[in-house]
């Protein structure tokens, strides 16, 4: 076990605090020390609440000394994407418009983590209103990738990816509407779980697209994601779209072997036009899974380009509708790219939007039929490793939409289908940039993805590598 508490995984540090091998104060101080070291380089935090965090840690230690632990994450300090309402706290949503917005309630996902005993370190950067895949932010500056400071983190959960990778927080909530958890996980070398639509309540989470938004964690390991999912999943009277389906024992799933499982590799689309290094790492990942006992087969999926197009129509309209009042009253307060994308939704007729919504059922049925013979599908998260901040700073230029679509090509179809997908660190390029692969599963079968991800992480060490300050 590491002597530096911040370098432990979430699961390890929760056990260490429970067993009094580290106090919550020692753990919190370790995170704060790393934040002080890295924040000037990364810009991953929007707010750092050191004094409050240490006071909460002392309270957690005092409670533990009296034998009253709150839950599975007692005394564990965390920070989250700044779009989860936390009563009494400013929640900027990465925007100028909500720079001074104070939440009056706490989001269900966050409250469930608090109920398990977590402590707040501060809030994490994000793309303005979660509407962008690169990690640039006009109002608060770009977030930097700890594996290469000139490179993007991916978005929109940019601070979450960067902070988890640099070991500034043990895990962080993100959100995924078009790839916003999986892309930062891929570009920053951490594990990210996009949950099934409806698996975790969205109550108190800033909306972008009510039909596609999902809540999920970024963490160091599949096991950590399993722990967090088990705490957050389940029905919520505040969000009728949160399903009442039973919550399985995700942690138990991570301990199972993958011998005899069948994993599908798409015959097209997800393997087309890949950067050679991403292609190499996909092949190496498949080899590891095969060595661990999985059967690898090719799968022919329905046309994924149509799913991407449908997802674009849905997000554009729903985002514009949420923002309409501010589009009228405060258009000057948006960054250029976010304003451009919000204006896109104005151009889509209601009939086109509803056709895209009506097609979701048949499209999901067709996808599930195509993968009926496999336990999961493996595919790259993106066709490239992290581009530089400069080359992806496209603003509202004529090229912007094509850059965005290229980055999100492999993630958007999964949001349209509402399926779960686990992004896992799978290798590094020759330049030292991480590359992730995504495991795609059936609706509500996160347990299968976590099982495969954990087996892969027992056989590899990509998730254990820690970036060094430049």
């Amino acid at each position: 076990m590491s002597a530096e508490p911040a370098l432990l995984s979430l699961t390890e540090v929760a056990q260490a605090i429970a067993q009094k091998r580290f106090s919550s104060r020692e753990v919190t101080k370790s995170c704060l020390d790393r934040i002080a070291q890295w924040q000037p380089r990364l810009n991953a935090f929007l707010a750092i609440e050191a004094d409050e965090a240490l006071a909460a840690a002392d309270a957690a230690d005092a409670a533990l000394a009296k034998g009253s632990a709150r839950g599975a994450l007692h005394g564990v300090p965390l920070a989250h994407k700044d779009m989860y309402y936390d009563a009494g706290k400013i929640v900027t949503c990465g925007s100028k418009i909500r720079r001074e917005f104070v939440a009056t309630s706490t989001s269900t996902a966050l409250q469930r983590l608090k109920d398990a005993g977590t402590i707040r370190l501060g809030s994490l950067q994000m793309v303005e209103f979660a509407y962008g895949p690169t990690g640039h932010n006009t109002h608060y500056g770009a977030v930097h990738n700890p594996w290469g400071l000139d490179h993007i983190t991916g978005g929109s959960s940019s601070g979450s990816g960067s902070a988890v990778a640099a070991r500034l927080t043990f895990a962080a909530l993100g959100s995924d509407t078009g790839g916003s958890i999986r892309m930062p996980a891929h570009f920053c070398g951490v594990t990210g779980l996009k949950t099934t639509y409806g698996r975790i309540s969205r109550a108190g989470a800033m909306p972008l697209s009510q039909s596609l938004d999902t809540v999920g964690p970024l963490a160091r390991t599949a096991e950590d994601c399993a722990l967090l999912l088990g705490l957050m999943a389940g029905a919520d009277p505040k969000d009728p779209t949160a399903t009442a389906e039973p919550v399985p024992d995700y942690m138990a799933a991570t301990r199972e072997s993958i011998t005899g499982l069948t994993i599908g590799v798409p015959s097209a689309f997800y393997v087309d036009d890949l950067d050679p290094e991403v292609e190499r790492i996909l092949d190496e990942t498949i080899s590891v899974l095969k060595r661990e006992g999985a059967n690898i087969v090719q799968v022919e999926l329905p046309d994924q380009r149509q799913l991407t197009a449908a997802a674009q129509l849905v997000v554009a309209v729903e985002a514009s509708a949420f923002h309409k009042r501010w589009l009228i009253e405060r258009p000057q307060d948006y960054g250029p790219q976010v304003l451009m994308r919000l204006q896109n939704g104005l151009a889509i007729p209601g009939v086109s939007y509803l056709e895209a919504m009506r097609w979701r059922g048949p499209a999901l049925a067709a996808f599930l039929a195509a993968v009926a013979g496999v336990d999961a599908v493996i595919a790259p998260v993106a066709p490239v490793a992290a581009p530089t901040l400069a080359e992806s700073d496209v603003g509202n230029s004529p090229d912007a939409e094509s850059v965005i679509q290229r980055l999100t090509r492999f993630t958007r179809p999964i949001n349209y289908l509402g399926l779960p997908s686990l992004a896992i660190p799978s290798g590094f390029t020759k330049n030292g940039l991480p590359v992730g692969m995504q495991l795609i599963g059936r609706s509500f079968d996160e347990a299968m993805l976590l099982r495969i991800g954990a087996a892969f992480q027992r056989a590899t060490d990509f998730h254990e590598r820690v970036p060094e300050p430049a």
């Binding site: 099934t196 639509y197 409806g198 399903t243 389906e245 046309d303 380009r305 149509q306 991407t308 197009a309 449908a310 674009q312 129509l313 554009a316 309409k324 589009l327 009228i328 451009m340 994308r341 204006q343 896109n344 104005l346 151009a347 889509i348 007729p349 086109s352 509803l354 056709e355 895209a356 919504m357 009506r358 097609w359 979701r360 059922g361 048949p362 999901l364 049925a365 599930l368 509202n396 004529p398 912007a400 939409e401 679509q405 509402g418 059936r442 609706s443 509500f444």
Partner: protein
């Protein structure tokens, strides 16, 4: 399903209550056009009785099997 023209976008944005100028309309047409083209093979082909809620039916049906 054809991609919208800047002229058509200007009209629809006016109706939506968020008017845009010609330059913005042209930019929107450029941005959103590929989505219309990508969805063209599906648009206009869906059966009469298909509701958006069919998605939830398919999603939950898979859980119980």
């Amino acid at each position: 399903m054809t991609r919208p023209t800047p002229k058509g976008i200007k009209a629809i944005a006016d109706v939506a209550g968020v008017p845009v100028d010609a330059e913005v309309a042209a930019r929107i047409a450029n941005s959103i056009g590929p989505a219309f083209e990508g969805f063209a093979a599906v648009a206009g082909t869906l059966p009469f009785d298909l509701e958006p809620a069919s998605f939830l039916v398919v999603q939950t049906a898979k859980v119980s099997t």
